[in-house]
């Protein structure tokens, strides 16, 4: 990735920029990057890799819009240095869908109208993915708890929660080999089997 610096003459010669080489995996693809240590993971993802689905909202560790998965765990990418990704595996929203199919979470957000402006959506989906990977049968309360670090200023969260429960139903149905259209027309889906 090319970074251009202000030439401040003697004060900070361009040769003083401390670059480090890191190797990491993002959405299944192995990458090598040269980064300045102060580069944030969010910027490596957006600018270095051109994956602009990761959004920077508050930039102060509050909103969760920049959430990605690092080794399967939800992390705020504005609050982690890019150099710290060395040797780790990152998943962004671009890693959810395949070429032909939306991820059940993405489908759920469409089916249940889980977004309005859409800015918080990628972070919501990745926090939700971490939840569903750990707990395939979440209750509504589990979902609300898992998403409590992701802020949405449009929806009031109701449909986001429904979307995640829709995706959980779909993933379970697919896992059971039934593969049907889960939760369609039901919309509640909340806490029916209560295992957590």
């Amino acid at each position: 990735m090319t970074t251009v610096y202000d030439d401040r003459g003697e004060q900070a010669a361009a040769t003083d920029v401390p670059l480090r080489r890191i190797a990491f995996t993002i959405n299944g693809a192995r990458k090598i990057a040269e980064v300045e240590p102060r580069l944030l993971l969010a910027h490596l993802i957006r600018r270095g890799l051109g994956l602009t689905g990761t959004h920077l909202g508050c930039d102060t560790t509050n909103c969760g819009a920049c959430t990605v998965l690092v080794d399967g765990k939800a992390v705020k990418s504005c609050t982690m240095l890019a150099v710290q990704a060395d040797g780790h595996e990152i998943t962004t929203v671009e890693g959810l869908a395949t070429a032909s199919e939306l991820h059940p979470l993405q489908e759920g957000f469409r089916q249940e109208h889980g977004l309005q402006c859409g800015f918080c959506t990628p972070g919501m989906m990745l926090s939700a993915k971490a939840l569903l990977d750990a707990n395939p049968s979440p209750t509504e309360e589990d979902v609300r708890w898992a998403l409590s670090g992701n802020l949405c200023r449009c929806t009031g969260y109701q449909n986001i929660v429904k979307s995640v429960l829709w995706a959980a139903d779909k993933l379970r149905a697919a896992g059971n080999g039934a593969g049907g259209e889960p939760g369609a027309g039901d919309g509640s889906g909340a806490g029916e089997d209560g295992s957590s």
Partner: protein, 296 residues
């Protein structure tokens, strides 16, 4: 937002990490240890902190533990994340105050990275773990070039965002002493929304034997310039059965110990009232548990 420029080292051993801190060129406030980074990175982005050297300890092996010694002492390593403690079977069965606090730290995403020991080092007056560890009479183990030393938690925090570590020391472990009886208590936090700092937080840590309190610690979050140990409130409980009168007395003493200020989170009067309410609530629950224990 970017942090200002810094040198970055990710040592593979504790000795190497301490060596990096010990070098004279990076002494004083010039070097910072990076663990979870959930407070340090935002501070650096806002340029409240601008260290010249970052020593990232995330690659150090064997620091991500939390475990109990045979005598019941609980040890939490420097890389044990809040989420590890939130999902800990050990804490759920043995340490009610820590188990209650863990899910209330920041938000779920921050809990995946942030650490208990890092939170103690950060020494934010509104940090939840400091109150918990102070109430439990815990300590911090610091390692430097000369070896290890143990610092009591109430002496570890020396002021807002200030701790007792020497520039070339790393806090490697938090230690909770073994209970003198059956542990009881909890942590209650009033917050405007998930992830906000505590408007008021109260940690109560008791040990009881046959319904009598053998040891009591109460500490307060967010109602003073630093974590407040409500020592007199704790002393009022020691050797007593948790009757309504004793609980009321302790809650009153804890409220007196609070030094709240009126701000956008609430008036000083309201915060003091919430301290009293939370202490009463936690002690009443503990009293019911002790009563059940005695009856059993």
């Amino acid at each position: 937002m970017y942090p200002s420029r810094f040198r970055y080292e990710a040592p593979r051993s504790l000795t190497e990490a301490i060596g990096l801190l010990h070098t004279t060129e990076s002494a004083g406030d010039q070097a910072k240890v990076l663990a979870g980074g959930q407070s340090l990175v935002p501070l650096m982005k806002l340029r409240f902190a601008a260290p010249e050297l970052i020593v990232d300890i995330n690659n150090l092996p064997g620091l991500d533990y939390h475990r109990a010694d045979p005598d019941g002492t609980i040890r939490v390593g420097a890389l044990c994340r809040h989420a590890d403690l939130e999902h800990s079977a050990l804490l759920a069965s043995t340490q009610p105050t820590m188990a209650a606090a863990a899910p209330l730290i920041a938000d779920p995403i921050v809990r995946n990275r942030g650490t208990l020991v890092g939170s103690l080092c950060h020494a934010d007056p509104q940090g939840d773990w400091a109150s918990v560890v102070v109430a439990l009479g815990g300590s911090v183990v610091a390692q430097g070039p000369g070896g290890r030393r143990s610092i009591p938690a109430d002496a570890f925090v020396t002021g807002p965002f200030e701790n007792a570590l020497a520039p070339d020391e790393i806090a490697v472990e938090a230690v909770i002493p073994p209970p003198q009886g059956v542990p009881a208590g909890g942590y209650l936090k009033l917050e405007r929304r998930v992830g906000d700092f505590a408007t008021v937080g109260v940690a109560v840590a008791l040990d009881t034997a046959g319904g009598t309190v053998t040891r009591a610690g109460i500490a307060l979050t967010g109602v003073g310039g630093s974590t407040i140990a409500a020592t007199e409130a704790g002393q009022a409980l020691t050797g007593k059965v948790l009757t309504a009168e004793i609980i009321e007395q302790a809650a009153g003493l804890a409220a007196q110990a609070a030094r709240p200020r009126t701000d956008h989170r609430g008036s000083a009067e309201y915060k003091r009232h919430m301290v009293r309410t939370f202490v009463t609530r936690l002690l009443t629950r503990a009293g019911q548990a002790a009563e059940a224990e005695r009856a059993a």
